[in-house]
Structures are given as C-alpha cells and as structure tokens.
C-alpha cells in the first residue's frame, strides 16, 4: 500500500497548494507562528519570573521558621500592655529541649560596630551566629571556612568577613589569618563569605562580620539576650508544627496573656514559599490560559483556511474521487496540508520564542545569583508542538471530512 509521506509528488502538491495563495498562507502561518511563540514565551517568561523571585532566596532552606520578640498587647500578671518581650538564651535552651522536629537552629544577634585593620576603620554590621547558621542560610565561601562547633563552644575570637568588609579593609590582599579589631577586641579572620541571594536575616552577609554567638554575647556584654532565633524543620514537617511548642516555652518564661497573639513574632518561611509557589502557579496558569487563547486563534485560522481550501478545490476533489481516490486519500491530502503548515510555522514560533527567552535570560543574568531561567525546556517545546499539531489536525479534520463526503459527481459539477 502506498504511503503518501514517501511520495515526492505528494509533497510537491502540498507545496503547490500552499504557495498558490501566498498572502493567505503567510497570514495563516503567521497566526500559528504567533500562537506558538506567545504560548512558549509566556510559559518561559513565567518560569523566568519565578526564577527571579526564587533566586532572591537562593541559599535559604525553604523549610525555615523563626522567632523574635515583640510587645504585649494585653495586660497580664500586673504588667501593662506594651511591654517588650525579649528572647533570652534560656528561652532558646527551653525551645531546643522541648520542641520536636527541629533539624538545625541558630540564634542571630547583630549590631553596628567599628572594625579596624591597620589604619583603616570601617563601620559594619556585626553578627553573632551559631555553627548551624550555615545549614539554614548557606553562605558562599570565597576563602577559608565558616564558624564551626568548636568556635561556638570555645567562645573563640574568630571572625568571618563579608566579602565587601574584606575588600574595604584588605583590598585584594589576603585577609585569612590576619587580626582585625572589632570595637577594640581582636579577632582572627578565618574566612571570607558572601550570600547567594539578596534576601538576608540579621544583615546581609556580604556587608557583615560574622562571629560565634557565644563570643558575641561575652565580648560585647550582651548578657543573656538574643535577637532572633531561626530554625529549620525536619523533612516531612512544617515549621508551623513547631510553633505551639515555642509558644508554650515562651509563655511559661514570660508574662504573656494566654490570648495575646502579638507578643511574639513568629515567621514561617515555608508558608511564604508556598505562597510564592502558589502565586507563580497562578501566573503560569494565566500564561497558559492567555497562550492557549492565542493558540486557539491560530488553530481557528488553520481550520478556516482548510475550509476555504476545501471549498475552492471541491471540483478537484471530485475529479480525484472519480479516478479512484478513496475517502481516506482525500482526508490525508487535506490534513497533510494543514499539518505541514502547522509544523513549519509552529517550529518557527517555538524557535523565535526560544531566541527571545535567551535574550531576556542573558539580560537578566546575574554573575552571583546566576540565571533566572527564562527558558523553555525541550519537553515544554515538544508539548507545545504536539498540542498544536493535534489541534491543528483536529481543526483541519472537519473540512477534511466535509471534503470526504463530497460525492464525485456533485463535486465535478461545482464551479
């Protein structure tokens, strides 16, 4: 049995049919081209916007929560409302001993101080953190190391300089092993670090001096007070599950009215990330919806053109039927014309979208944060093409069936 795909004349015939009315073919092809390009660009664009948003949180564990002090809003046990509730190290120990599902945790203290090396003195954010901090916000280590458990427990006077701090004090010279003075106390530099994204807790790592929390409290007379407490929940658990335990510890340690919901400030980054995910799911769906609308316009164009082609070629179809074309031959002929048009214009649309997304990705590339991923995956590109081919074929099917039903004798009478 013949297969028209392998018959050169069949292809020449498709070419001849499509090139007979160039303007009409071009406009139809443009509709398909634009439909696929829009769908691909919107899909890739939504992915890029999500990438831009998410790269701001690069390095952060998404299953993170935290707590910091607030003010009471209700009087309780003889204390007026408006009283400041400060986190203390006793609170942190209580939380660590009583709250389950905590994977990693760290206190964060910070304040602005003077840091000096040689004759240079600069003012930067000083951060006191525990060794697990680097599991919650993964830093970029330019040289040396981050704070470890020994530093923490030994109250060692070591410092990790943010990359901007290191540059302002040492220029391009090596900072490791050098001693810097922080508010008159000398610390040995053990590392130069930065952060992977724009988001930060307790100060941007690039512009901070990071020292062990234990050293921070002792060297700078912070007593038992703690600024923030951050933690990550174990896999399969949400930071929100830990909140009631933290709440119980805090309320037992501080005079907080049982109904006072605002005395403690809790954050649940996992919830925020879920919101972002949902937001971008919505944006992706909107993009798909808008793209699908454009695509449908293109498909309707294909159906329309096929309808006109069938109408124009009724007599020819009759001749073909009279000399032996079976209904299937006519359907294949009509559909293959639509499919060729769809395949060529659709491929060009996807290629165009890929080029545009590539340019946008290049323009939004950040040397530190990396690519935002304005891109169309091969799977998505194939999915768009397959959907377009299926819909394009379906759109051509109605005219093709109409063509098939034409009786040869009636068709040949058609003028």
């Amino acid at each position: 049995m013949k297969n028209p795909i392998f018959d050169l004349e069949n292809w020449r015939e498709i070419g001849a049919t499509l090139s007979r009315n160039k303007t009409r073919t071009f406009l139809t092809a443009f509709g398909i081209f634009w439909g696929t390009a829009m769908l691909a660009m919107l899909w890739g664009g939504a992915s890029g916007l999500e990438g831009i948003m998410k790269r701001n949180f690069n390095g952060f564990d998404t299953n993170m929560g935290g707590i910091f002090g607030g003010r009471t809003t209700m009087s309780y046990k003889g204390y007026n409302k408006g009283m400041r509730i400060n986190l203390t190290y006793a609170d942190i120990e209580g939380i660590r001993s009583k709250a389950p599902y905590i994977e990693a945790s760290s206190v964060i203290d910070s304040y602005y101080g003077n840091i000096a090396y040689g004759t240079k003195t600069k003012s930067f954010n000083i951060m006191g953190v525990e060794h697990d901090f680097c599991k919650i916000q993964i830093p970029v280590m330019y040289s040396g190391r981050f704070i470890n458990e020994t530093d923490d427990y030994g109250t060692r006077k070591i410092a990790v300089l943010g990359k901007n701090v290191a540059y302002s004090l040492f220029g391009n010279d090596k900072a490791l092993g050098k001693y810097v003075s922080i508010n008159g106390v000398y610390f040995m530099v053990v590392g130069v670090a930065g952060q992977k994204s724009e988001a930060s807790i307790g100060g941007k790592l690039d512009d901070s001096v990071i020292i062990p929390s234990s050293t921070f409290r002792r060297a700078f007379n912070q007593g038992n007070l703690v600024g923030f407490f951050i933690f990550t929940a174990q896999q399969g658990h949400d930071p929100g599950e830990i909140k009631p335990y933290i709440d119980r510890v805090m309320r037992s340690n501080h005079p907080i009215h049982p109904n006072d919901e605002n005395a403690l400030q809790m954050m649940n980054m996992a919830e925020n990330f879920r919101m972002i995910d949902n937001l971008f799911l919505g944006i992706s769906l909107l993009a798909l919806f808008v793209g699908a609308g454009t695509l449908m316009a293109g498909i309707i164009g294909v159906g329309n053109i096929m309808w006109i082609i069938v109408k124009e070629r009724t007599q020819e179809i009759g001749i073909r039927r009279a000399i032996g074309a079976k209904p299937r031959d006519i359907i294949v002929q009509i559909l293959s014309e639509g499919m060729v048009l769809t395949a060529i214009a659709g491929t060009m649309g996807v290629c165009f979208a890929t080029i545009v997304l590539g340019i946008v990705d290049y323009a939004t590339f950040d040397p530190v944060l990396g690519s935002a991923h304005f891109e169309l995956s091969l799977t998505h590109a194939i999915a768009i093409m397959v959907v377009f081919m299926i819909l394009g074929t379906a759109a051509g099917l109605i005219p093709a069936i109409k063509a098939m039903k034409i009786k040869p004798i009636e068709a040949m009478r058609d003028k």
């Binding site: 013949k2 001749i319 073909r320 032996g324 079976k326 031959d329 009786k407 040949m412």
Partner: protein, 219 residues
C-alpha cells in the same frame, strides 16, 4: 458481456420525486463502441453516472465485467472506478496545477505505483496520443483538443475494462471533435469498449451502436 443492466431504476428524492431511469435493461458486449443519445433531461447522464459507479441506483442489478455493482462502500466503489473504468469528461477535468504527465499518472498514484513508474507509463500514453512534446505543460498551456487527449490518456493508464465519455466533444470545435472521435475509434479498433454519451448526431453516427433514451426509458 461487459455491461449488463437488469430493470435498473433511479429516482431523485425531493418534494416531487423525479423518476429519471425507468426499468433500464441494457447489454453491451466487450469491444463495442456505443453512443447513448437523448435530449436534455432524458436521463442519459444519470445512466452514464451509474455505469461509471459515480452514482447509485435504486432497484435492479448492474453487472460490470461480471461484478455486481450494488450497495458498494465508498472505498470499494473508488477501487472499481480506478481499476475498471476510464472517464473522459466534456470539460476535460484536468487538475490545473499538474502538468500533462502528472495528470495522466494520477490514477496510478491511487494504486500506489511509484512516481518513476507511473510517470513512465504516463509518458507512454501521451506518446500514444501524440502529445509527448506537451508532457510537461500545464493544462492552461494546452489547446482544447490537446486537453481532451490528455484526459483520454489518463482514462487509459490503468488499462480499464471500459471508457465512459460524457459529451467528450461538447467543448471542442468540429475539426477537433473529429480528431477526438477518431482517437476513440482507434482505441476501439484496438479492442477497448467505449461508451459515449452525446447529443451530437455526427458523433453518434461514428459509433457502432446508438442507444436512444427518452424520458428515462431506452427505446
């Protein structure tokens, strides 16, 4: 016997049904050159369409080369048309964007014959019609007589059992008409069965037998 019709009837439905063929009984021997003549609306074209499996009939039986042509599927009808019947039409019915050789080769395309082979066979038929030098011309570049000879070449390419010609000279001047009829006579002399529907007496008198049809009945 190549064609045998027994009591064939055909009615076109409508508000007023039109009974166009009434108890047609017809026998045509292999190798005959027959003309069917009648006035407009007499039913001669409907008869030709039934003979050509382009239209169905309501009652009776029609045998083509001992094959009962009745209640055929579209596919089977297309297959029989392709293999057993060659058509020649008044308005030539060539495909305008295909050249002469491609037009002639088209029936073989539907038989799955390779392009090279069908074009070679088409060239043979065009040479037989004296049109080898016009093989690569489009229909628009050919004269009326040349177009009709291309159409005859197309009708012959599948080596059919019969050729059905519907007013083959209707669009041609008298000299060209004579040429075309001469082609048919030559083909008949070679053994081909040919049935020509015409209202032109000069064409009818060139055939071996004239079948006259009036008001849907063969006289």
């Amino acid at each position: 016997m190549i064609i045998k019709l027994n009591n064939v009837n055909k009615t076109y439905p409508g508000a007023v049904p039109l009974h166009v063929l009434k108890d047609i009984n017809l026998e045509i021997e292999r190798g005959e050159l027959v003309s069917i003549m009648g006035a407009s609306g007499s039913g001669k074209s409907t008869l030709l369409n039934i003979l050509g499996i382009l239209d169905n009939y309501d009652t009776g039986d029609y045998y083509l080369d001992n094959v009962l042509i009745k209640n055929l599927s579209e596919n089977r009808a297309a297959e029989l048309r392709n293999h057993m019947i060659g058509f020649v039409f008044q308005s030539f019915n060539l495909i305008s964007y295909k050249n002469a050789v491609e037009n002639v080769a088209l029936p073989l395309f539907y038989q799955g014959v390779s392009r090279r082979k069908r074009n070679a066979l088409a060239m043979e038929q065009l040479e037989r019609m004296g049109l080898a030098d016009r093989a690569h011309h489009l229909p628009g570049e050919l004269s009326g007589g040349q177009k009709q000879r291309v159409a005859i070449a197309r009708s012959l390419i599948t080596k059919p059992s019969i050729i059905l010609a519907d007013e083959p000279t209707g669009a041609l001047d008298s000299n060209t008409s004579k040429d075309v009829i001469e082609v048919f006579r030559q083909l008949n002399a070679d053994g081909m069965t040919i049935i020509i529907v015409t209202h032109d007496p000069s064409v009818g008198e060139k055939t071996n037998r004239i079948i006259r049809i009036t008001d849907g009945r063969i006289l």
